[in-house]
Symmetry: C2
Subunit: 306 residues, 2 copies
């Protein structure tokens, strides 16, 4: 991350964990903060990114990919924010207590608890993330939320029609209300997968900027650098099935997919910046997409209301 | 509290709760903060007392009377501090995983985990409270801790030889290392119980100040104003016995004892201030005992080390 100039990262702190299990994950991160104060610091506010930059470190911001850590208890939304959580996906592929995931056959939209939790997330400053949600649920969340919401990691469906990529009207519903789309580098979200070219990826970004403007776009790499195979099992299967579910993978490719050659790991952000420059995009827009847009979003959306 | 000029209070957030149950108690307080922002605010730092004073409110600081919420997991010490907990008793009357309570027949002193947890509490800024601990455990905690510890609510055993009151050498071991003793108004800790006179109580304070100096003394009322009977059951019995344990009460007096006439509730702090003045104590020492000494202690002892 230091070599790649990554001042801040959004880290998954829960896929399917209960509240107590998620706290165990926070404890493991507390140990990392204690053992590596020269490299990382806890990220709570946009100003922590300034501190990270000034001191040559990376600020670690936490997000839930699933609302499982709040269990059936809306009071845990505020507790999660107090513990430093800043993003929560309302669903992770499957139906949750709050909304519908993008792998379900039917999407009946936000649940009663979903609407209550959105209001509470707005109140305390926990950002709604619909990356793994189905379309109707996402549109309803964008509408119901009084603060901007995000799709932290996905790409346009027009470019690569993966189930996790988002249709233009869904992207627009999020960005036109001040929300953010983070472009994913997970090969299953890329045109031609691991063989996707840097040019194709960057032209897709430039075309999206033409459509929705450059201010509400950033990176959300979905990078799983050095994660063991057990993580991909846990994220796909959790405890919700007795079968093997391959998610976006398959029986012949069950593990993490191979990253594109031009984005192997955190050292390679410079390649994306150069690729964007090659599309002819304005320098200021490139800086926004490479980080400043997320910084501004963090500034506006992590504090409690009132 | 507003009538009594109480700018800050140390609230019990757990007696026997697991971590998750303690979090439910925090959630209930979050609801109170949300519903009564004109009266109370969360207390995290000494500076919150300044805010409370300036805005005519009371800052609510949280403490555990028992280490049960950290379960067998030292990582929960830092999590508790992040959640705003500022005091933790190493024991509540019984043996704990950390040390021995004052109702046990034997006191073998700090456990292995007890020593590890003291070091972690020192590191993160969670204050060690030995109010309900046995003497040897308390002396060993005062010695093992690199930061001052407290007896937040008890009185000198010389004045009233209750099991919960503290011998002179125990009080001295705490105060001579910069720690605090908070004088209790719980009738079982008072000479003559509910019939204790204001004069007797205040002269006891003045005599303690003569012995250990006035700077490390304050109030720790143990006031249970408007608490239902269920609270006294939970605090005494928890889930640790199938019998009825009356604690400091008895079968004929099973509930909360009647408060002394001169200290019925939070409105009556002025009486204590006047009583201290009647002992001839210096005005500056009285101000210290009525609140400033705790304020200074809060300033020095809630922040993480380094």
């Amino acid at each position: 991350m230091r070599e790649g100039g990554v001042d801040a990262v959004h880290v998954t702190i829960a896929y399917h964990e209960t509240f107590r299990e998620m706290v165990l994950n926070l404890e493991a991160w507390n140990d990392r903060f204690r053992c590596h104060p020269d490299l990382i610091l806890p990220g709570r506010w946009a100003s922590d990114i300034d501190i990270a930059r000034r001191t040559g470190r990376t600020a670690i911001f936490f997000g839930f990919q699933n609302p499982s850590p709040i269990e059936d208890d809306i009071g845990l939304v505020e507790i999660a924010h107090t513990l430093g959580i800043r993003f929560m996906q309302l669903t992770y592929n499957n139906q949750s207590l709050l909304a519908t995931g993008c792998y379900e056959a039917e999407d009946p939209g936000l649940t009663r608890m979903g609407r209550a939790v959105i209001a509470e997330m707005n109140r305390v400053g926990l950002v709604i993330d619909m990356s793994h949600s189905a379309d109707r649920s996402t549109l309803e969340a964008a509408e119901a939320s009084t603060r901007p919401i995000v799709i932290s990691h996905a790409n346009p469906h027009d470019w690569h029609p993966a189930r996790r990529n988002k249709r233009a009207d869904v992207i627009r519903a999020v960005t036109e209300r001040g929300g953010m789309l983070g472009f994913s580098l997970y090969p299953h979200h890329l045109k031609d997968g691991s063989a996707c070219s840097l040019q194709s990826f960057c032209e897709m970004i430039a075309r999206t900027a033409d459509l929705v403007g450059p201010r509400h776009l950033g990176l959300g790499t979905d990078l799983c650098q050095d994660q063991p195979h057990s993580v991909v099992d846990w994220m796909r299967v959790g405890r919700w099935t007795k079968q093997t579910d391959y998610g976006e993978g398959s029986a012949t490719q069950p593990g993490f997919p191979r990253m594109p050659g031009w984005f192997q790991d955190n050292r390679d952000f410079g390649a994306i910046e150069r690729g964007l420059r090659d599309t002819g995009m304005a320098e200021d827009d490139i800086h926004g997409i490479m980080g400043r847009n997320w910084y501004v979003f963090f500034e506006d959306n992590f504090a409690p209301l009132g």
